[in-house]
Symmetry: C2
Subunit: 290 residues, 2 copies
Amino acid sequence: MLGRLWAKYWDPKGKHCYVTGGSSGLGLAVAKLLVLKGAHVSVVSRNAQRLESAMKELETVRISQDQVLKSYSYDLITATGAREALDAVCEPHQGRNPDAIFMLAGSCHPRFFIEETEETMKTQMDQTYWVQAWTALEASKRMVRDKSKGKIVFHSAYIGYITLIGYAAYGPGRMAIRALADTLRQEFLLYDIDIHIAFPGTMYTPGYDIENATKPKITLKIEETDPGVTADQYAKGLLQGVQSGDFHISPDLLGNIFRASMRGVTPSNNFFVDSLWNFIGRSSDMAYVR
Amino acid sequence: MLGRLWAKYWDPKGKHCYVTGGSSGLGLAVAKLLVLKGAHVSVVSRNAQRLESAMKELETVRISQDQVLKSYSYDLITATGAREALDAVCEPHQGRNPDAIFMLAGSCHPRFFIEETEETMKTQMDQTYWVQAWTALEASKRMVRDKSKGKIVFHSAYIGYITLIGYAAYGPGRMAIRALADTLRQEFLLYDIDIHIAFPGTMYTPGYDIENATKPKITLKIEETDPGVTADQYAKGLLQGVQSGDFHISPDLLGNIFRASMRGVTPSNNFFVDSLWNFIGRSSDMAYVR
């Protein structure tokens, strides 16, 4: 808390920021904000056509002719794709690693578990976990090798805190990526690499409409209480969290409640005894008072 | 809490219990207990040689000549493997689905993230998540189709509650399997299928020695505070949890603290404000008082 008074606010100006999933939705919104703040921005996405229109949008908000704005089409769900994309993105910057990587690619296809297939299960793990894990693995190895500082920003979702019926294929990847970020925060204290992870809820993006097409009615009903935000609104909160140095970023009411309790929907075995366990568990958290 | 007074204690006697990873460690320990309690037990594991010696052990503890004790060698990290194993296991039981499935196969290979490779990352996801997810998918579809009640028991680990340096490849799968179990508990209330998930810590098994061979020194140091248990000890707690109807099973001190707080090692953004969020988040838990 007090840390905020003297903490250095991270400034993207003049930094090379690599944004995955940067052609639409949250990725594009974050890329735009970064351009507005004077960063060099590289966006990667699968869809070449969407990339083209995204680049036009980014060009309209550039604040200096010196800003390097580039786009590349790669599929990041394999280690090879992640490696090739990173090579391409670094090329106009004399091969130097990006100063910040915003991993915002992904997609969500909810349905009941008993309607899942081998393919849908694998696809959701690819789109929630591997699409970020491979870039993180490749980038962090290079950063450690080159002794370059930097930021790696993951994204999960409310579902990474509280799992919910309808997300049997999606939720595991969202929680897995949280676990990866949590682990890397510890390991990368050694290397001056900052880890962040954002937890958006309902966000009105093109992906949200796709998601709702397969979403079970019960899941839609439960989610009615989430007022939702636009990608632009969420991007602001996300970037502010990154600039302030927050690790888990949840710039909204529900996200904060989920983050701080993080019990999810696991029922207590015994509420009163569990309150005691909870008190003990949380007391270790005092070590982090700042 | 009061529920315990009138809750029906589940009795494995005469039930068909399918145990994956049943040839050693926790799987074998649970299989033995189930045999001792009069269940029909099928064990599946990759290693045919170990299966043979496991079967000899199980035969020594049978309490009736009517008990059907069988073993099968399958690799369960693919959907096909899970399907074929399930077919084989059901065959001596007139094709009926198992009454309870204990998914205890898996392995752990800790190391620093920057030492992970594409292969080690994939293997750990296979051994923590897919090895259970495919069996759960295949079995639950059959159970819903056949309207057969039953129990599906997953296993995670302390690391599924609190991630830790050294477990960058293992932790995500352990948290993913928790997310899957959490989601299925909700969905399967519809079908009278009970979901359970166990969270062991240090357990002195053959797998523990393999795990320590690659474990970073800092991880070993942190884990010194965990006294550890034998597989037989843990199996007792696990089975008791299943019989009592506990969803998250953590029969030891550290497991309970981690379970009830479940904040893991994510630092607070602001301890005092987060305590308020935590209070709000936990108050919803009152709904589960029993």
